[in-house]
């Protein structure tokens, strides 16, 4: 026994075993997210159960499990949809109660703009009191038309009315500012012109509103009647249908096409129904933009700090103290940074900026409230230690001989640093940036008090001057996961969204990191010393 321990083999087994366990846990987690995240867009078959009490239900099988404390008894969780009719999306059914089950060919899934999915079959097209049968081709044409209508409504709402609103707000602020000035004739003239502009805008606004009302009217015109599993009928405007598909008769290609379309919608569209349906594009956009702003802030800050510490302060006791403090900063809980960001950036800096430059909008804060800039700067503070440490390592890896080469040519310390040493430390700096990005992209807690929201009305980047709106609130993938998974009214129906969003978050972090890694590899190749 003693001999065995002396060989050291048990320790090797121990370490190898620990490594295996860690790897398995990580792989398991990633596999779980991959399977669930990628799986949700695949069209599931619609099953019709006839139950012992004569009831008929139709839906997607969500889960099957054994009933606790009963032997050989199973139950099925069926997504029956039709939340507006049945009150809930899911229903548990004991397998013992199921008399028969089948996959009806005419079963359709209606993906709706509101109230989640509806399952049933299509009875016909409603005209007055009559119900006329409708062919699939006609249905496709109607859906296409309503999609065009939807896009039109959205463009009027978002772009045209949004534009007018934006200009009206500007004029309103201008008026407010002018009214604080002494009412000389010049000022009064200006007020009059602004008012005139305002009237033109108001008129345009009313016109657009009328157009919108017309469009909405048109959207309600065409209606179809669906036959639900329990035999009841349900009338639904075509406009409400996002997608209509028959999963039981779909071929493989149709399924793949459906999958791709759904996936694309998910990453490129805006959320619907309190974030539980539709896409997550604003959250992806917000995350990437926040990380980029953070990088722009943290890299210069970290690099300059590291340069001073390593090149100028070298080894004084103060420098050592600063170095220890910086390292310890990395261990402060992120929520503390959030609170600091709230106090310093938002209340102090933001409030100050508002008083100086946006006083006409007060008491409505412009910068004095959470926004993407403050959130990014808070995360920059959070990640600065990582960049400092990595840059210091990068600097110390630049050989003395290269520095001496520059000094011997008459370069000053600054010239040597700027033109020879720093470029060579770039791979180290990028390593720091990569670590900082990885940390920042996944951080949620400090964002919740510095500017993240569950639904942002507009992106922080748009067509209005100055195009980048750093004061705006934004959406974020990490917060989106929290919101959809734990704060939404219909948590159960949103679980697949949580997996898919997690997947996108992981992927976004991966892409951001890979970009930095590719840049670093390119640079490293350039800087690596060729062998003599």
């Amino acid at each position: 026994m003693k001999k065995l321990f002396k060989t050291g083999n048990p320790y090797i087994w121990l370490t190898a075993g620990t490594l295996t366990i860690s790897l398995l846990m990580i792989c398991g987690l990633i596999a779980l997210i991959l399977i669930n995240g990628f799986g949700i867009f695949w069209p599931h078959k619609l099953v019709r159960f006839t139950l012992r009490d004569g009831a008929v239900v139709l839906g997607e099988i969500a889960k099957k499990e054994s009933i606790p404390h009963k032997k050989d008894a199973y139950r099925t969780k069926l997504k029956v949809g039709n939340r507006d009719v049945f009150g809930m999306d899911f229903r548990w059914i004991d397998d013992a109660d199921i008399v028969s089950h089948e996959l009806p060919h005419d079963a359709l899934a209606f993906e709706r703009r509101e109230w989640g999915n509806m399952y049933g079959s299509l009875k016909g097209w409603k005209q007055g009191d009559d119900i006329k049968p409708v062919s699939p081709a006609e249905m496709t044409a109607m859906l296409k038309e309503s999609w065009g209508l939807f896009k039109k409504i959205r463009s009027v709402e978002k772009k045209e009315i949004g534009n007018i609103n934006y200009r009206m707000e500007k004029n309103r602020l201008e008026l407010k500012r002018l009214s604080t000035l002494p009412p000389t004739t010049g000022i009064q003239k200006k007020i009059a012109t602004v008012n005139a502009r305002m009237d033109v805008l108001k008129k345009a606004y009313r016109e657009k509103e009328d157009i919108l009302t017309g469009l909405h009217q048109k959207a309600r015109e065409k209606e179809v009647v669906a036959l639900l599993a329990d035999g009841s009928e349900k009338t639904i405007p075509v406009f409400q249908i996002v997608r209509l598909y028959a999963p039981n008769t779909m071929g493989s290609f149709a399924k793949i096409g459906f999958y791709v379309a759904k996936f694309w919608e998910f990453v490129s569209d805006e959320p619907r129904e309190a974030n539980t349906e539709g896409g997550i594009f604003p959250a992806i956009f917000g995350t990437v933009m926040m990380v980029l702003i953070m990088s722009i802030a943290v890299v210069p800050l970290g690099v300059l700090t590291a340069v001073y510490l390593r090149e100028y302060a070298s080894d004084s006791s103060i420098a050592r103290l600063v170095r220890i403090s910086v390292s310890n900063l990395a261990g402060v809980p992120s929520i503390v940074f959030g609170i600091f960001g709230l106090g310093f950036f938002i209340y102090f800096l933001g409030g100050g900026i508002d008083k100086l430059f946006f006083s006409e909008a007060l008491p409505t804060p412009t910068f004095g409230t959470g926004g993407i800039l403050w959130a990014s700067l808070t995360l920059a503070l959070l990640t600065v230690p990582v960049v400092v440490v990595a840059t210091e390592e990068g600097l110390s890896s630049v050989p003395m001989s290269i520095r001496e080469g520059a000094y011997a040519l008459g370069a000053t310390k600054f010239e040597t640093l700027w033109k020879v040493v720093l470029p060579q430390a770039v791979p180290g700096i990028l390593t720091g940036a990569i670590l900082a990005i990885a940390r920042a992209a996944g951080e949620v807690a400090p964002l919740m008090i510095t500017g993240v929201v569950k639904l942002a009305p507009s992106l922080p980047l748009d067509q209005h001057f100055p195009f980048i709106h750093l004061e705006r609130k934004f959406m974020h993938l990490g917060f989106h996961i929290y919101d959809v998974g734990f704060q939404s009214p219909n948590v159960e129906a949103a679980i697949p969204m949580v997996y898919a969003t997690t997947l996108v978050l992981l992927f976004t972090v991966l892409v951001l990191n890979l970009t930095a890694i590719v840049v670093r590899t390119k640079l490293k190749k350039w800087y690596s010393t060729a062998s003599l």
Binding site: P399, S401, I402, R403, E404, G405, A406, Y407, A408, L409, G410, A411, T412, E415, K419, V420, P423, Q424, W526, Y527, S528, T529, A530, L532
Partner: protein, 259 residues
């Protein structure tokens, strides 16, 4: 024993009673030495005897090491280079240096050679091109690299890198060129190329070379100094040193009985 200060014609550098300490260790002991203009002077001696330390005093590169203290003085053109009024960067532009291991910057050949002129503030493309070409020609590298000036200098061979470092030092038009064992990392062919080049350079520059290789000193230098344990043991015309050394230690060293 009494050391006579060797008289050389047209001295440009005068080293007077120079001692150097690394902390408390005395690495150079009262060196007295004159170096003749537009000649090659070589320093030989066993490793650790202070050759590098001495030539690094000539462009004040030892200032970078915090523990160094210096006694005595060094004059170039009659001016004390350790006087407080001297601008170190100006001095280093007049006294170029090439190191034992080639130390190209991770930039293109072109940017390497022009690093010094750019520091001097020359920015005109045509004059930079001329300087680059001239320096590379003097360093006998032009023909080998003229078509690939914009390739990474790290991709050159060791010998080419070293000649590029010499070109880089020459591009600032120094009066004195210091070389610290420039050939120790190179093969014989690269070595002989550099030796030929140094003999050429003698027409315009004062060259001071530290070498580990006595044949090299004998082949190219006009004056040779032999150092041991921080002391200048003997300094004389090269042929004298190698055919008729005055000191026993020198004789032992050059006949290979020591070192």
């Amino acid at each position: 024993m009494e050391k006579v200060r060797m008289e050389v014609p047209d001295p440009i550098v005068n080293i007077i009673g120079l001692s150097l300490y690394y902390g408390k260790t005395k690495a150079l002991k009262e060196i007295n030495l004159d170096i003749s203009k537009k000649r090659i002077t070589s320093f030989i001696g066993p490793s650790g005897c202070g050759k590098s330390t001495l030539i690094r005093c000539l462009n004040r590169l030892n200032d970078l090491i915090e523990s160094v203290t210096i006694e005595g003085s060094i004059q170039i053109d009659g001016q004390d280079i350790y006087a407080p009024s001297v601008d170190v960067t100006e001095l280093r532009k007049r006294v170029g240096m090439v190191f034992q291991k080639p130390n190209p910057f991770p930039k293109t050949i072109y940017e390497n050679v022009l690093y010094g002129p750019r520091v001097l503030g020359i920015n005109k493309k045509s004059s930079l091109d001329d300087i680059c070409e001239n320096a590379l020609k003097r360093a006998a590298l032009w023909d080998e690299v003229k078509d690939r000036l914009h390739m990474n200098a790290l991709d050159l061979s060791g010998g080419q890198q070293q000649r590029m470092c010499i070109a880089r030092a020459l591009a600032t038009e120094p009066e004195i060129l210091l070389l610290d064992e420039p050939c120790s990392a190179l093969d014989p062919i690269a070595t002989s190329k550099i030796e030929d080049m140094l003999v050429e350079l003698k027409r315009d520059y004062t060259v001071i070379i530290v070498t580990h290789n006595m044949q090299q000193a004998a082949r190219i230098s006009d004056y040779t100094g032999f150092f041991m344990l921080g002391e200048l043991v003997e300094f004389n015309i090269t042929t004298e040193i190698f055919t008729n050394p005055r000191e026993k230690q020198t004789e032992d060293y050059i006949t290979g009985r020591f070192g």
